[in-house]
Symmetry: none
DNA sequence: GATGAATGAGTTTTCATTCAT
DNA sequence: AATGAATGAAAACTCATTCAT
C-alpha cells in the first residue's frame, strides 16, 4: 500500500484516463471507478485530487478550453505572416477540430455544462466569446481591417462545432480541404461585398 | 377505477412530456418517473407503451428527425418558386434551428445516439445524408444546377448544428438574419467561382 | 420477485425496524442497509417510501413527538380527576420517560435535529413549547390556578430529559418514585410560596 | 524545513480545534481532516498524537469531565462559607451549564459514549456518580446534614442536563435565575419535610 | 516529529425495470 | 390497459487510517 513510485503527476494520469474514457463513452457513461482503474489508482485517490466528479470534469473542460484558446491564439500570430487565406482556414479547421482527443470531447463537455454545471456553462460562454474575438481579429489580418468580420467569425465557429458533431456521429469523412476552399472563396467575396 | 375511458393518445402525452423534460434537462437527467408524472400517467403505463427507456428515446428521435426532414422537404418545394436566396437561407436557418422545441432537443438526441444507442446513431447518419442531399438539391434550384453544391450544403448543415449548440449554451442572441446574409453573398460568389 | 404478501404496511415495518435500530445504536450507526434488512425489504423499497435518510428520520421523529404530545395530553385530561399530586407526577415521569422505545430514541433524534436537520430542529422547538404549555396547565389543575407554573413546568421537563439521558448512559436505576415524591413535596411548597 | 521548533503544545491545538468543531457540528460531522485544518497541522501529525479518532474524543471527554468535576468541587468548597442557598444554586446551574464551550459539547460526548465508546461510557457513569456525591455533600452543607439529599441531587443534576439539552435545541432563553429560585424555595421545603 | 498522498471499506442515493393485481 | 409497490445493480461520495519520506 501507500504510494507507488515517484508519483509522476497522479493528477495528470487522472486527467488522461478520464479524458480518454469520456471521449470513448461520454461523461455519463464514465464512472469514477472506471477512471480510477484506467488511471491505475484507487477510487479514494481520485477523491483525493477531485472531491467531486463535477470538479474533475470542470478541470478537464478547463484544460480543454485553454488548449483550444492557445491553438487559436497561435493561429492568430502565424496568420500575420501573409499566409494565403486557404492555408489559414485549413489550419484553423484542422487544428481546432482535428486534434483527435480534443474534438471528440468537446461536445460531451458542452452537454455537461448544459445539464449539470452552471459554472462550467458560464465558462463556455466566455470562452466562445473570446474565440470569436480572436477569429475576428485573425480575419481582419488576413483580409485587412476594413470591414466587419463578426458574422463570418460566427459562421466559422459554428461550422467547426457542427463539423465536430458530425464527425462524432460518423456521418462520413469530412473534406476539410474543400471546406477550407469554400471559406477562401466566400471570404473574399464577403469582404469585398 | 379512476381511468379515463377515452385515453386520447397516451402515447402522445408521453412523447410530449418526455420531449419537454429532455429539452430542459437532457436525457440522462430525465428519469422515467419524471416523465410519467409529467405525462400524468403511472410508470407502469409508461412501460406498457415503451418497454425500454431506449425505445422511448428512439421514438422521440425518430419523430424529431422525420419532422426536420419534412421541414427541409417543404423548403425544397417552396424554394422552386424563385424566392430570393436570402429569404431562402433565412427560412432554412429559421425553421430548422429556431423551432424551439426541436432545436433544443437535437443535441441531446445526438449525444444519446453516440453513447447508448447504436441503431439510433445509424439512423442519424442516414438522416444527415438525406438532409445534405435535399439541401444540395435546393441549392441547385436556387442557383441553377450548374455547379457542385456538396460543400456548401455541408457548411450550411454544419453551421446550423453549430448554431444550435451555441444557442443551447446561451452564448448570445444569434443574428439569424445577418448569417442568412452571409450565405446569400457568399453563395453567389461560390457558385460563380 | 415483485411484492411479498398483502403488504401489511411496509412503511410501518420500516418505522419499526429503524426505530429499534436507532434505539440500539444511534442514528449515525444505523445504515439504510441495516434498516432494510431488519424490515425484511430491499434498499430500493426503502427508497420507495423515503427518498432520503433524512426523510425517514424526520418521519420517525415526527411520530415520536406526536406520540409524546398525545401522552402528555392524556395526562392533562386524567389529571383533572383530583388525583393526588404524587400519583400525577409519577405518571408523567413514568409515561414520558419510561415508555422504553420512546425514551431511548429521544436523545438521538435531538442530536440529529441539532447537527443535520434544521427543520426537525424547528419542529422540536415548537413541540417543547407545546409540552411546557400542557404541563403548565396540568399543574394549574393539580394545584389550582392561582400561581405561576412556568418555572416548575420547565424544571419538570428538564428533569425528564436529564433522566432520559442518564438512563441512556446507564448511570443506575432511577428511582422514579422518590423523584415523584420530590416534586410532590416541593410543588406544594412552591405554590404556596 | 517549515516546522515550528517550539511546538507549543500541538496537542493543545488539536484539543481546542476539535472541541470547537464538535461543539458546532457534533462528533460524527467533524472529520479528522477538518480538525487538522482547524488546528493548522496535517492529518499525519494528528495521528502522531492520537492514533485513533476514538482516542482523541476520549481525551476531550476526559478533560471535559475533569473540568466539570473541578468546577463542582470548587462549588463544594465555596458553599461551605454560608452562602445563601439561592446564590449557591445559581452558581451551580450557571457554571456547569453556562460555560458555553463546555455545555455545548456535553451531549455530543454522551452520544459518542453511548454509540461508539464503551470505555468512555464507563467513565461517564463513574463521573455522574461522583458529581451526584459532590452535590449531595454540598446540599448537606447548605442545609445541614440532617436529611437525605440523594434525590434532590439527582433532580438537580438531571435538571442541569435537561437544560443543557434544551439550550442546545434553542428552545428559548433559559431563566437560570428563576430556576435557581425554584430550587431555593423547594429545597427548603424538601429538607424540612 | 511532521507530512500529505494513497487507500478501501462502507454508505447513501439513483433509477430502469418487473410484475401481481 | 393501467397501476404502483418492489427490486437490485450500480453509482457517487465519505473518511478513518496507513505509511514512505
Amino acid at each position: 500500500m501507500g504510494q507507488r513510485k515517484t508519483t509522476p503527476a497522479n493528477r495528470e494520469k487522472i486527467i488522461q484516463a478520464a479524458s480518454q474514457l469520456i471521449r470513448e463513452r461520454g461523461i455519463d457513461n464514465t464512472t469514477l471507478a472506471d477512471i480510477a482503474v484506467a488511471a491505475g489508482i484507487s477510487k479514494g485517490t481520485l477523491y483525493y485530487y477531485y472531491s467531486t466528479k463535477g470538479d474533475l470534469i470542470f478541470d478537464i473542460a478547463d484544460r480543454h478550453m485553454n488548449n483550444l484558446t492557445d491553438r487559436i491564439f497561435r493561429w492568430l500570430e502565424s496568420s500575420g505572416q501573409d499566409l494565403p487565406p486557404r492555408k489559414v482556414f485549413r489550419m484553423v479547421l484542422d487544428t481546432v477540430m482535428h486534434s483527435r482527443s480534443r474534438g471528440q470531447i468537446h461536445v460531451y463537455l458542452i452537454q455537461e455544462a448544459l445539464t449539470e454545471n452552471p459554472s462550467l456553462r458560464k465558462r463556455f460562454v466566455e470562452e466562445y466569446r473570446r474565440w470569436r474575438g480572436i477569429i475576428e481579429e485573425g480575419l481582419s489580418r488576413v483580409y485587412g481591417n476594413h470591414g466587419e468580420y463578426a458574422t463570418m467569425a460566427r459562421v466559422l465557429l459554428a461550422t467547426i462545432d457542427g463539423l465536430i458533431l458530425q464527425r462524432l456521429i460518423g456521418v462520413e469523412q469530412i473534406p476539410i480541404d474543400s471546406i477550407a476552399g469554400y471559406f477562401e472563396v466566400t471570404g473574399e467575396a464577403y469582404v469585398s461585398r
